[in-house]
């Protein structure tokens, strides 16, 4: 055995990060033990009792970070230490100086990239509008990732963009795909001729993934942020995005995704649609299809339907073929639902949805509304169904874990699974729960190892309860997380897995219907 270590001066990390990196190190070839910790006298005594104290560490101070690895031989130990240092750097976990030049102003950034035509703004909400306005004044399109932008400022920015023909994606725009580049939380999708304007971040991810997985491709995916289609903002960014797709020669089919826009916004969308012959599919979740038809768009009942409609138009495939496929799959879903329902006890009757994606929780509520007559939520369709305490489920419940109440002081649930994992086990301990429903959104910006994070918890939940666990994965085979392996691991853990939220929700609906939910 060889024990090797290094001392890092002036680098600070939190305890969990250090423990997690140490854990990763112990998984490396030939490594028996590893530790990362500050050099206090007491820690050195623990290292000593663990056979990990090397001579160099004896002089280390309390502000030094000690990295030590015990491995089969010296080479493996040194290699492991190099890997640990890489992990610390790439994860950018702590407080470190950066060698790379990072421009601190828009002007500085434009000196490096003079041909750039778009700026992503991700600063505190109160400063975001000012930074966005600066970019617009330079004639650049803007994606505002920040939320909590004051209303009047957001309005000013959107108005300026609208008046000058510049895209203002956001505020609170988490996803976009521009000229094939995924921005924010986004997936690696096929390029193609379907353009999307979406006032829903996860909605854009779900639709672009279903399109890509069904053989279609995306020209542009323009996010606008959810507030845009509300009365106050008059759909200013949505309309500019729509016009951009109409003018874009690469875009042959347009898909619109949103919660039902305000009637005034809907009317304005209709005015613009009069100017184009391009086919437009609209998934305005929960909206009256007749109203959608009136503005000249093809109504889609859910995100799956919208995506497949767009692909069928793009590829010249008859939608009937897709409908037949959906009809056949629907029959299979009903059969599967009745098999699964038989395994439940009489006491098990409630649905518990724990969502990473805001649009997906909304879509699920829309689709289950008729069966369940309403679901309690922290983001409900009907305000009377708002959960009093979002941490506690009541009867049928669907929780959006991306809401501010869950994300203050911790990363978005698409990155950090800890909170949901605890909640899964809480639900499993409730004997009245029939279905635990999970979405797993992968792609850039999201958790790199969702299978490792989620499958042990699903297995544990299955040990505790015989509740049915349904998971829907939003992603493509080209995403960095290896979607096929993820799905296979989720299935092995005992989940019923889908790649479209609407299908997964329909299964849940059929199960609940058959047990009288």
């Amino acid at each position: 055995m060889a024990v090797k270590g290094v001392i890092k001066k002036g680098e600070y990390y939190d305890s969990v990060s250090l423990m997690l990196v140490a854990r990763e190190a112990t998984k490396l070839n030939g490594v028996e033990d590893a530790a990362l910790m500050i050099g206090t006298k007491e820690n050195k005594s623990i290292l000593e009792s663990s056979g990990l104290l090397i001579e160099e560490f004896k002089g280390a101070s309390e502000s030094d970070l000690l990295i030590v690895v015990k491995a089969k031989d010296e080479l493996l130990a040194i290699t492991a230490i190099q890997k640990v240092e890489e992990l610390l750097k790439t994860k950018n976990l702590g407080s470190q100086e950066s060698e790379e030049y990072m421009p601190k102003s828009l002007e500085g950034a434009l000196e490096i990239l003079p041909d750039a035509n778009m700026v992503i703004v991700s600063v505190a909400g109160k400063y975001a509008a000012r930074e966005a306005m600066k970019a617009l004044e330079h004639g650049l399109h803007v994606m505002i990732f920040s939320d909590n932008v004051p209303k009047d400022k957001a309005f000013e920015v959107k108005k300026y963009g609208r008046e000058h023909g510049l895209l203002v994606m956001g505020p609170d725009c988490g996803t976009a795909i521009i000229n094939g580049a995924p921005l924010g939380f986004a997936n690696v999708v096929n390029r193609g001729d379907i353009g999307i304007v979406s006032a829903a971040g996860t909605g854009l991810q779900e639709v672009s993934c279903i399109i890509s997985n069904a053989g279609g491709g995306i020209s542009q995916g323009i996010g606008t942020g959810g507030i845009d289609v509300k009365k106050d903002y008059q759909g200013m960014s949505f309309l500019t995005g729509l016009e951009a797709l109409i003018d874009d020669p690469e875009t042959k089919v347009i898909t619109l995704v949103s919660k039902p826009p305000h009637p005034e916004v809907l009317e304005k969308i209709g005015e613009i649609l009069k100017k184009t012959d391009k086919p437009v599919v609209a998934a305005f979740l929960g909206a009256d299809p007749e109203l959608v038809k009136k503005i000249g768009a093809i109504p889609a009942k859910d995100l799956e339907n919208a995506s497949l409609l767009a692909v069928s138009i793009s590829k010249g495939i008859s939608m009937e073929d897709f409908e037949k496929e959906i009809g056949r799959k629907d029959g299979e879903l009903k059969e599967l639902a009745s098999q699964l329902a038989r395994k439940l006890t009489g006491e098990q009757k409630y649905f518990r949805g724990l969502f990473q994606g805001g649009t997906l929780v909304y879509e699920t509520q829309v689709l289950l509304k008729d069966i369940l007559g309403g679901i309690n939520s922290n983001a409900p369709l009907d305000p009377s169904l708002k959960l009093e305490d979002s941490w506690k489920s009541v009867r049928h419940t669907a929780v959006d874990l991306g809401e501010d109440e869950f994300t203050v002081g911790r990363p978005h649930p698409q990155i950090d699974f800890e909170l949901r994992n605890k909640r899964i086990l809480n639900e499993a301990n409730d004997p009245t729960v029939a279905i635990i429903y999970l979405d797993v959104v992968i792609g850039y910006g999201t958790n790199p190892n969702p299978a490792e994070e989620l499958t042990p918890v699903i297995k544990k939940a299955r040990e505790i309860s015989n509740a049915i666990i349904i998971a829907t994965v939003t992603g493509t085979d080209k995403d960095p997380q290896d979607k096929a392996k993820l799905i296979s691991m989720l299935k092995d853990a005992g989940a019923v897995v889908f790649e479209r939220n609407a299908s997964a929700t329909r299964l849940a609906g059929y199960i609940l219907k058959s047990i009288g939910g």
């Binding site: 939190d14 305890s15 423990m19 007491e42 203050v408 002081g409």
Partner: protein
Amino acid sequence: MMQKIALIAESFGDCINLNSDWKQIRIHSTFRNVINLLVSSRIISIVAPAVGRGPNNIVVDIDDFRQFKYINWHDKILYLDDYGIDFSGAEKYDSEIFISSSNRGEFMCNLQISEKVVVEEAPQFSSAFLLDDGREKFFKTLFERNLKEKIKITFKALMNGYFDAVNELKGVGFGLTPQGDDIINGIVIALYIFEQLSGVKTVNIREKFYLQSSNGNVLSNTFIYYSSVGRFYEYFKDYLLAILSDGKNVESVTRRILNFGETSGADILTGFIISLKKFLEGGLLWQ
């Protein structure tokens, strides 16, 4: 130096003297939500609103503090790089806590609720195994097990009246504020609350804890110091007020602390809950 733009301070702690001359100032450490400044031998932290107010915190709504590389104090203005901080509209945070009366029965019940949340929801690598030994299983490698045992043995000794065990507990743990220091911080807070509830004076023993546990870690020293003089960070003040009142929000305020600084919140709560229960059962453990 030209002030390019004013960063707006939303609040500042009541232990920060904005009129003093901060000549000896440097950046201690920087994280996404916090930039810790070393001013003389104490820490002043500039924090994002998500971290919250505190006796030595300046709250400024900035997304990522890691963008700043320099600190300067010039003409009574604090600069991050060349961005001056404007305190004109900032509210002064009152970090003291006043307890008028309490219902001991209800208080114990609230403490139990809080303990349950910690046991069920604390991060795996935290010291919550001291509350529930079922959590010891999370410590897997030899090194992790040794660390856990060290914390367990020294904490037990301390709770059995052996004060010098504080020398063995301080500094034990991985990160910026080691678990041992956070547990000690929890004990010191418990001492203050015990004094408020029982009238038994704990000021000397609190000071002794601070002096004995002071080491080269200025962050830990700062946290323990403020607890020893009865000054609390907002998240902990809210917690104390909740468990000492009707207990309505005990679960949510406990969870808020658990979200603080990876394991730190859970470690402080573990030290606080166990030691306060001990004091209430049998009085002060050390003379």
